[in-house]
């Protein structure tokens, strides 16, 4: 009997509809972007490994890292990583606010989402502007 009951329940268990069922909304796109930026940063940690190992290994390996990071492709990658990190960080704050039960109102959730989207872009550009300023002083 338990066997029959189990299979019957399995047959009737609801399936979660997949993404393409829903009309695209900003909050949903940002949730997906949160995942994608997280996955990108996961692999970006390899750059961190390279950087630290090279610094520990000596001047020549470190010069190679500096050459790569200074090249246009290196800068593009680092700029992308900076944006991904800021997007994931600000998106993370938004999710933490939602986790403790705030910011779920129709207008609140929209402006929170917009704020993190725009905030990440602004902070990224500011960080790079500041970075170039600091490099100019050094």
């Amino acid at each position: 009997m338990a066997e029959a009951e189990t299979s019957q329940i399995r047959d009737h268990r609801p399936l979660s509809p997949h993404l393409q069922i829903y009309k695209p909304m900003l909050t949903m796109m940002m949730s997906i972007a949160h995942r994608i930026t997280g996955a990108v940063l996961y692999f970006a940690m390899l750059l961190m490994v390279w950087w630290l190992i090279a610094a520990a290994a000596g001047p020549n390996p470190y010069a190679r890292v500096q050459w790569f990071m200074g090249s246009w492709i290196g800068r593009l990658m680092l700029f992308g990583c900076t944006w991904a990190l800021m997007h994931h960080l600000l998106g993370g704050i938004r999710h933490l606010i939602w986790d403790i039960g705030y910011g779920f109102g129709p207008s609140e959730r929209e402006w929170l989402t917009r704020a993190t989207l725009i905030g990440a872009l602004v902070v990224t550009v500011l960080l790079w502007a500041f970075g170039y300023f600091v490099m100019g002083l050094a």
Partner: protein, 131 residues
């Protein structure tokens, strides 16, 4: 037996009471814990990166090897590798439905996270102790 299907759990699932994740809330909680810790540590990380940008190797070694910087970066590395290990696990569990591929990727995820964490930590300790 055709009880109304309000409860969609299997009898075994009902007895275990653990939900679809097959475990308690520790995974969820640790994800949040490391995300809160990551806020401050990321700020520290950015400040440290800014302070070494464009400098030569000797200056970088001196900055990265100082105790406070090493401590902050070690905390950042531990926190980040644990956080990314948890996060990638969720992504794999959500999108990979072939059982064997899922197991293989979950293992790879663990290996990758440990190697990244250990490699960064080793480099930082070497910079710090200067051997």
């Amino acid at each position: 037996m055709s009880a109304p299907l309000r409860d969609t759990r299997t009898p075994l699932g009902r007895v275990r009471g653990l939900g679809s994740a097959r475990s308690g809330t520790m995974h969820f909680w640790h994800q949040r814990l490391t995300s809160v810790a990551g806020l401050g540590l990321t700020v520290a990380f950015i400040v440290i990166v800014m302070s070494v940008m464009g400098r030569n190797h000797a200056a970088v070694v001196q900055i990265l090897g100082s105790p406070v910087v090493v401590l902050l970066l070690l905390l950042f590395v531990f926190n980040t590798t644990y956080h990314m290990w948890l996060g990638m696990q969720v992504i794999i569990e959500d999108y990979v439905h072939h059982e064997l591929s899922k197991l293989a990727l979950l293992m790879l995820n663990t290996f990758f996270s440990i190697v990244v964490g250990l490699a960064c930590s080793y480099a930082l300790l070497k910079l710090s102790f200067g051997v």
